[in-house]
């Protein structure tokens, strides 16, 4: 007999350890529904509960209440109001932080009033002793009309109790915390009379929240109960006051805090880390450390992967039966996959550091620290989170702008976020830096390649901020602005959380980008292996005639033939067609092909060059890097990847909008084609101009 999975929704304020509870319950059994990063949409995992019951665990975005002020909060309300949603929760688990119980309980009371079975989780129980906190759990359970799990998601305690409570969710009382009539008896009585079969608190949310709620006509309800915006706000305030009165009453006897027992180093740390001088010095120092480590620590595994794929290509070419499929494998698919896998070490290290900073609570200090600076440029302190998470991928970063309440600040953040260096740029930077920047020490300890990489990241941030400043002056949108940020406690990062985060984000890059790169590699191989006309089909005869009388080895003749074919293949003809436009930037037609193919996604650049150079070279054993290093211009005899071309390419990729998915998400988030079109034109134009200037100055 098959048993249907139950849906369990994890809900709570930001920084209550909701995602840690999610990780404890699901382990690696997660299906990442949205892009990894900050939880901006639903995330689903699976969990086996006692008595053979299975559960879908939903990690929802952090929200302070059911009165949505930003888009990510609406995700929670829409789910809770839609019983027909296949993920509609059978049971809600509200996660709270033992140190912020009063504030965290507000949303608990609201969900309880929706008559959804609700379990209360009080997290971070391991801090109770150091903070002098004692709880009367039976009393709290009685007053809050629920079951409570006292847990520490960091230490993994109480998780089994929570699983047992989830299993017995049907025994939880449905009684609401607040009688909705108490907010305004006259108003709510008439509302209930008109819709006698509806839950009153749901009706109230339909009136006050701008969320999807399709079987009730919101306009019908609103028209029947005309209240001005300010009157509705007044009622909402009244509701909040009544809820806090209830919470105060509950906590009066259920929660005791002995301030004399509290040992706190948080304030001391905050004084240093958010200091107006030392705060920035420390932040810059941390950035230095990260980028130095990315380059230094990744070298050995990257060289190993590069060598392994080169050997694999060579093995496939020599050992498999000769034919078109073997050529496709050895020259198209294997180098294409290698072009993705090689960057796993660097991407994993980058995410490792970012996860540690987020987990430790330091990232919120950075947000606070940067708010003053950001505000001068038309951004909010909250813009720092998208800008930093943009180092992973611009898509979740743009989605993460949903928690910026002010539309103008949000729009500007969306428009400038693609300037931050995403992980797709990292492969391009890494290979070009290793080709044109010498690996030498600066000031005895700093690696020049690492410094160059850091410069490119800083350049991305600086361009984003400068563009924001211009947009702030240009865009005529007047909106009120305020800044509220929660400072979580400092914590030692949990190995499990950091590990899951690194695996999840690296996997997303490899799987997401890998499939596109592989498909493009296959197509490129065909375009590079076939061509029209005599120059391609009779390449062998043409080369033999041209080289007759010259003292060339067999390998040199083979390379000449491969080169003649490539140049006259379909891709060669396309590349040569665009060459006049890109040669002022220092690029040949092969780089031009990589530029075109990487328009869909930047990371395709290296894979494209790997495929093109594999087709145009008879040496299957050489690595991608050595092939690029050996590439010379037939007209000048000089290396293609020289310093001037390398810098020009680095700058081009620093600014260019080479990502179709980012344009799509900008359209989705702004609900207009105007803004992505502006992004595309402005960023591409800037990239071309800067690359042109740099090449012309350095050549």
């Amino acid at each position: 007999m098959s048993v249907q999975n139950i849906n369990v929704a994890l809900i709570g304020n930001p920084n209550t350890g909701k995602t840690s509870v999610f990780n404890q319950l699901t382990g690696l059994n997660q299906q990442v529904g949205n892009y990894p990063g900050i939880t901006v949409e639903k995330k689903i995992g699976f969990c086996k509960l006692p008595h053979g019951i299975k559960a879908n665990i939903l990690d929802l975005p952090g929200t302070y209440s059911l009165n949505a002020s930003s888009m990510d909060e609406s995700v929670v309300i829409e789910l809770l109001l839609n019983k027909n949603d296949k993920l509609y929760p059978d049971v809600a688990v509200v996660v709270t932080d033992v140190e912020n119980l009063k504030r965290n309980l507000l949303i608990y009371t609201q969900i309880k009033d929706l008559e959804i079975p609700t379990i209360l989780v009080i997290n971070m129980a391991d801090r109770m002793e150091t903070k002098g906190i004692t709880l009367d759990i039976p009393l709290l359970e009685e007053k809050l009309k629920t079951k409570i799990a006292l847990i520490s998601s960091r230490k993994g305690t109480g998780i089994e109790d929570l699983k047992n409570l989830i299993v017995s969710y049907k025994t939880i009382q449905h009684e609401p915390c607040l009688n909705t009539f108490d907010i305004d008896p006259e108003y709510f009585s008439s509302l209930q009379n008109l819709f006698p079969n509806q839950l009153l608190y749901k009706l109230w949310l339909v009136i006050t929240q701008d969320v999807n709620f399709s079987n009730l006509d919101r306009n019908e309800i609103r028209n029947a109960f005309t209240k001005s915006h300010s009157e509705l706000k007044r009622l909402q305030q009244k509701e909040t006051i009544k809820r806090y009165q209830f919470i105060n009453d509950v906590l009066k006897d259920g929660l005791k805090i002995d301030a004399s027992m509290a040992k706190d180093i948080r304030a001391k740390l905050d004084r240093v880390l958010t200091h107006k001088v030392w705060g920035y010095v420390i932040f810059l120092g941390i950035l230095f450390l990260i980028f130095q480590s990315i380059f230094s620590w990744s070298t050995i595994p990257m060289d190993f992967i590069d060598g392994t794929f080169a050997s694999l290509s060579s093995w496939a070419a020599e050992e498999l039966p000769s034919g078109i499929l073997t050529d496709l494998l050895s020259q198209g698919i294997i180098p294409g996959i290698g072009g993705v896998i090689i960057f796993i070490p660097q991407i994993a290290f980058l995410f490792l550091f970012i996860s540690i900073l987020e987990e430790s609570g330091y990232m919120s200090r950075v947000v606070f620290l940067m708010d003053k600076i950001m505000r001068r440029f038309g951004l909010s302190g909250k813009s720092v989170v998208p800008l930093i998470s943009g180092t992973a991928c611009a898509i979740p970063a743009i989605m993460a702008t949903r928690n910026i309440e002010n539309w103008k600040e949000r729009l500007i953040t969306i428009l400038v976020t693609p300037f931050t260096t995403c992980s797709a740029r990292l492969p391009v930077y890494a290979i070009i830096i290793s080709l044109v920047i010498p690996s030498k020490r600066v000031l005895g300890i700093l690696n020049l390649q690492g410094l160059t990489l850091m410069f490119l990241y800083v350049l991305g941030f600086a361009t984003a901020i400068l563009s924001a400043y211009i947009l702030n002056k240009v865009l005529k949108l007047d909106t009120k602005t305020y800044f509220v940020v929660e400072m979580p406690n400092y914590k030692l990062p949990l190995f499990k959380n950091v590990g899951i985060n690194v695996v999840e984000k690296t996997k997303a890059f490899i799987v997401g980008a890998g499939k596109i790169i592989l498909a493009i590699s296959v197509i490129l191989w065909f375009l590079a292996s076939y061509g029209p006309g005599k120059d391609f089909n009779e390449a062998e005869a043409i080369v033999k005639e041209r080289t007759a009388g010259k003292q060339l080895t067999e390998i040199q003749v083979e390379n000449e033939i491969a080169s003649q074919k490539l140049e006259n293949s379909y891709i060669g003809l396309m590349g040569r067609a665009i060459e006049p436009a890109i040669s002022p930037l220092g690029y040949d037609w092969k780089i031009g092909i990589a530029l075109i193919s990487s328009f869909a996604a930047r990371e395709v650049f290296v894979g494209t060059l790997a495929t093109i150079y594999s087709v145009g070279d008879s040496d299957n054993e050489a690595t991608i890097k050595s092939k690029m290093q050996a590439e010379v211009s037939p007209s000048t005899g000089k290396k293609i990847f020289n310093f001037a071309t390398g810098i020009s390419l680095l700058l081009f990729y620093a600014f260019a909008m080479q990502c179709a998915s980012t344009l799509a998400i900008t359209k989705k988030e702004t609900n207009s084609w105007k803004w992505p079109a502006m992004q595309l034109v402005f960023m591409s134009g800037l990239a071309y101009f800067v690359a042109l200037i740099s090449y012309q100055l350095l050549k």
Partner: protein, 40 residues
Amino acid sequence: MLQEIIAFAILGFAVAFLIKKFFFKPKKKKDCGDGNCGCS
């Protein structure tokens, strides 16, 4: 011959995958579709 068939089949898959990826993104459902979102 077999190698050619497999190679061109792989090419077909690659082209179809990219077209689907960039031109036919599934639209997210905004509501439950049947006009009854179970509010009652």
